[in-house]
Symmetry: C5
Subunit: 101 residues, 5 copies
């Protein structure tokens, strides 16, 4: 899986019938340090992620292994919202640190 | 999924029997800002996209999860025509803005 | 799918039993303008393509969706011989124009 | 499969139900000489690897071919802890040499 | 499929039970001219290839379409030992020319 941030939404009226009702989100991929890599994905959201959330998505046939996406023509699905991650014992990024409460 | 623009068509008389009757379209891949990346795909069209349309396509085994492409040797299928997309709340591209009516 | 030209053949005596009788061809990948990209694939030929032909091939599990390759360990299969393709209404390449008759 | 080192962990409270109880680890990919390539993966761990371990992971649908990950939306799974590897008869890397006992 | 040379072996004591008894080989990928590309794969060997052999391997789900690897978490499997290949009618590489007899 790769880390990414939800930055937008794709609107489509004409789509494959199996894709109806599925929200299509624009993801900016992040590297292990939390920086944007320049790559993006349009992904189906299986977990209710919102604009600005950092998420994990799965690609390929694994994108269809959720209750929402089974048998549907998606090759990228958000399957987790990330709270934080650490590298070598130090927190690289955390949602708590980013969002002032 | 990746964003792309339909720019052409591939003509083939000799093809795998399962591919008969399927239209093969040339797609130029777009980045999240709507600019051509330099990459392309030849894709089967499952939604009736036309020349110049901006579309989403799915790759790998997900390209076979449509009524049209089930069990067929395609690894790229157009599964949505894009009306618009936004990033950080601003519309990056919209079909309405591009086509004068 | 990607466009490619058949440029050679791989000879193998010791191979997985399921691969017996399958011809292995060397493909040079082409970009949308018909120029070699520098990448190659070794592919199984499901349509009787010959040396010099421009073809389409499918990768991944889609390479197994032909009568010839079902259940076999190939990840690249030629599934169409290309007659021509166009971009923005102009023919980019055609077999007829290339081969003097 | 690719070689990688376990360097961290991803924490996620909201995730696809099928991913519950699965530990998500941050992997730094290694080249054949044992050097970091700059790429990373977030992978499910099927073998009990720990921080600092060098491992092999499988991607795509192969990531689901373990007892732990069957039918789950992971596209990267650690399926072996590496003791050592050699190239041209010389040991490139070994766990024994790295960890003073 | 891609061409590669067997250059080494990975030793692993702790691995997914389904991977037991499978030999893991280090492959250096070759381009169509027989030169190393700098990329590598760790692959399961389904055909008894030895150190120094030039082989073909299949990736993704196709790596599981052999009697040895069915249902196992490998995403790269050697499915042929290469005797030779030619491009534009000239032999690029042959095992016979490389190994003095």
């Amino acid at each position: 899986m790769q880390l990414a941030r939800v930055v937008g939404t794709v609107v489509s009226t004409v789509k494959e019938p199996r894709m109806r009702e599925l929200k299509l989100q624009v993801l900016r991929l992040l590297d292990e340090n939390g920086r944007a890599t320049g790559a993006y994905q349009v992904a189906v959201d299986a977990v209710g992620a919102g604009q600005g959330d950092v998420v994990l998505f799965a690609g390929g046939s694994s994108a269809r292994q959720t209750g929402l996406t089974d048998g549907k023509p998606t090759d990228a699905t958000i399957m987790a919202i990330v709270d934080s991650w650490d590298v070598h014992g130090k927190v690289v990024w955390s949602a708590a640190a980013e969002t002032p409460s």
